[in-house]
Symmetry: C2
Subunit: 431 residues, 2 copies
């Protein structure tokens, strides 16, 4: 088994206490086996020795909500309200998407994410075989679900459910375990209750979690009350969604009581601050969710509503916006924002062995070039990562013990080909 | 006079209408003399021809509020309320700052700013001769003021005022006009009214504008009412500040009536969204200020409260946060955020010939590398600049017709020496 030593680096190995150490990390196969200030064994015992001078090593970022293929719609229909943006801009264009579009749109997003330090991402979309194949080829970790919209005839509903189930069965545990799957009703407002119940039953049968959008806008909440007499949380609870392990995206409009329900069922919330701000959906009650003990993580959402896939920016937004809006300068401090983007992200998608640089954890980590003005003085690197860094500071990325980015270059995919094919897809879609 | 042609580039030349053109730009001396789709003259007429393929040219960014030397305090005392942060963390450390510290702290910030696409910045600090010398050496444009705090004996007040006046006189119009100066009482809560009046009189005598902090926190507003019986706007109006052209930083806590007063006096507001969020000061009423016709621009503030000097991030925050907080997805659209960071920034500091790529304007512009996933598809570059770009996408920077950054490398200052000297200063300050 290959044994690699990284020396002379700065490492964010634990979030509490001392924010980083200067020292060494050892990787054996797909695992981290040592982290500390001293070199644990003579140098001749290692197959590879890497000089980590002027590099900051930290856990890879975990993006818990997105639609990667939507990079094809980046900048298309900005500055609109969510429902109009969705119904008049996104859905008509997405209706034209073929498997090829999903392949190249997703590949471009994977490139952007991996080069920017994201090592794991959640994807909810259509043509998911293409997404899974791209994840497999990229070397990233993916938690994938065929998102189904149930506003269609019964036979189409059934066909979509079969597609989602087949996908989930086929790919769960694939790519050396780098791919896991979920079942995903798109949202309570796009799926009739009986259809959601069938999806939940399928998730029970397959022993898989559920991922859905929930309580993203006040209009959605009101619509749910109008249609079903319940707010989305009570509605989803009633039809049994929370009987499965569940990850909801957004959770912007929540009452204290709803937060308490989410905590009771251990429902995890993917906070998407960039997307929620851009679509004017509002500001999620993240400090309250965290205080209640709900697992919160961070997602970029699709590039059409963000418009990049920079998880450093989501950590920074999470650290900044809740301070500004609540008036509490201690809301979501830097160390907590970093946890949301790493360890809590991993836990939110049922990955207990990634998101932290510790012996026994998977070797999913990234290195940032800290020989730059915005990383000086070399004091609190947790602060610098959250308040000062960006995706483009990332130079090296390792997932499952394999390097997928070195010196800023992607080692696993053909970047030029992806950009070219992406532009051809876009030209055809817009034409 | 040197004549340069840039061909095959994308250019953001006007903010309204078509968001960018593909074509050419001509620079003669320190001016832009042509921009358009066709090459205006045969190629042999140019001294230099630059291939702009895969580059997006746009006006250099204008940072209208900051304290560059505070990069020495980046990450020092995060996650605290403004007054505690200021009184218990910043001021005791700043009291130790020597001219050398200001020299190297400022130089590091200038490096970060120029490499990140900022071509003009406002600085309010002490030891301003060092700041002006660094601006001169860097090739950037600076609007500089010796910020004075009047909480001191009369003789010290007088000495500071003389220092500020001498500085403003000496440097106004220096470095081929790249440096202009202002007079700067630090804030209504740090300067007694009679002292502010003396500073205003000096500004009258020198025919210079005023720059001050104002209405940054609700605590400051309440303190002003408690001490002087007036909110800060009425207080500054009463003691004659607005009789001079004035730029105020922050302006977070403003009533409708105060906004109207600012509009009447044509007082300009530097909006610092990152700093205001981080210090939990609140969210400025930017949509209302803009609707009232107040000139709003963007500032990073010092690195201690931001914590980087990335003006792309300030544009993005301005475009995002006002949507999320107001619930209006049309608040501060991308084109408006870009104006705040460029043309309106320049106008806010009385520079009428920078901030726009148009014939007759100063050749202050930057180029971004757009051959990257987050700039695809190549549709709306104004959207991509505001919602997707970051400082590190900048590859070339030109100010006053001179290249100061090419291919990401600073041409005018010794980056390695600056980083080294900066760290020595920090070690001494913290030791």
């Amino acid at each position: 088994m290959k044994k690699t030593l990284i020396m002379n680096g700065h490492f964010i190995s634990t979030i509490k206490g001392k924010s980083s150490i200067k020292g060494c990390m050892v990787i054996e196969g797909d695992l981290i086996t040592y982290i500390g200030e001293e070199t644990p064994e003579p140098k001749e015992n290692y197959d590879e020795i890497i000089d980590g001078t002027n590099k900051l090593y930290m856990p890879g970022l975990v993006n818990t909500h997105g639609h990667a293929a939507m990079s094809l719609l980046r900048g298309y229909g900005d500055d609109l309200a969510l429902q109009i943006w969705l119904e008049e801009k996104m859905w008509p264009m997405e209706a034209k998407f073929t498997a090829q579009d999903v392949k190249w749109g997703t590949s471009l997003s994977i490139l952007e994410m991996m080069k920017g330090g994201t090592t794991t991402f959640v994807d909810m979309y259509d043509h998911m075989n293409e997404v899974a194949k791209a994840v497999e080829a990229s070397g990233m970790r993916g938690v994938l679900a065929r998102g189904v919209i149930g506003l269609c005839p019964a036979d189409v509903q059934t066909a979509k459910l079969i597609d989602a189930t087949e996908f989930a069965k086929t790919w769960h545990g694939a790519a050396n375990g780098r791919i896991t799957t979920m079942m995903s009703p798109h949202a309570p407002y796009t799926c009739p209750p009986d259809y959601i119940e069938r999806i939940v039953q399928a998730a029970h049968d397959l022993n898989l979690p559920i991922h859905t959008h929930m309580s993203e806008t006040s209009r959605e909440v009101q619509g749910n009350v109008d249609q079903y007499g319940l707010r989305p949380v009570a509605h989803l609870e009633k039809i049994g969604v929370f009987s499965r392990p569940t990850l909801v995206a957004h959770g912007v409009h929540l009452t204290d009581e709803e937060i308490s329900v989410l905590q009771q069922y251990d429902v995890r919330v993917s906070h998407n601050p960039g997307s929620n701000l851009k679509l004017a959906s509002g500001v999620a009650r993240v400090p309250e969710l965290l205080r209640a003990g709900v697992k919160v993580s961070l997602g970029t959402d699709g590039a059409a509503s963000n418009n990049n896939l920079d998880m450093f920016e989501e950590m920074r937004l999470a650290a900044l916006i809740h301070k500004g809006v609540s008036g509490d300068p201690l809301a979501v401090p830097a160390a907590e924002a970093l946890l949301l983007g790493t360890k809590m992200g991993a836990e939110s998608i049922w990955l207990d062995n990634v998101g932290l640089l510790q012996p026994g954890m998977k070797a999913d980590f990234i290195a940032l070039d800290i020989d730059q003005p915005h990383f000086l003085p070399k004091t609190d690197f947790v602060s610098h990562v959250v308040y000062s860094a960006c995706a483009k500071d990332v130079v090296d990325v390792c997932v499952d013990g394999n390097w997928i980015v070195r010196k800023g270059e992607c080692l696993t995919m053909d970047e030029e080909k992806i950009k070219r094919e992406f532009e051809l897809c876009f030209d055809r879609l817009i034409g």
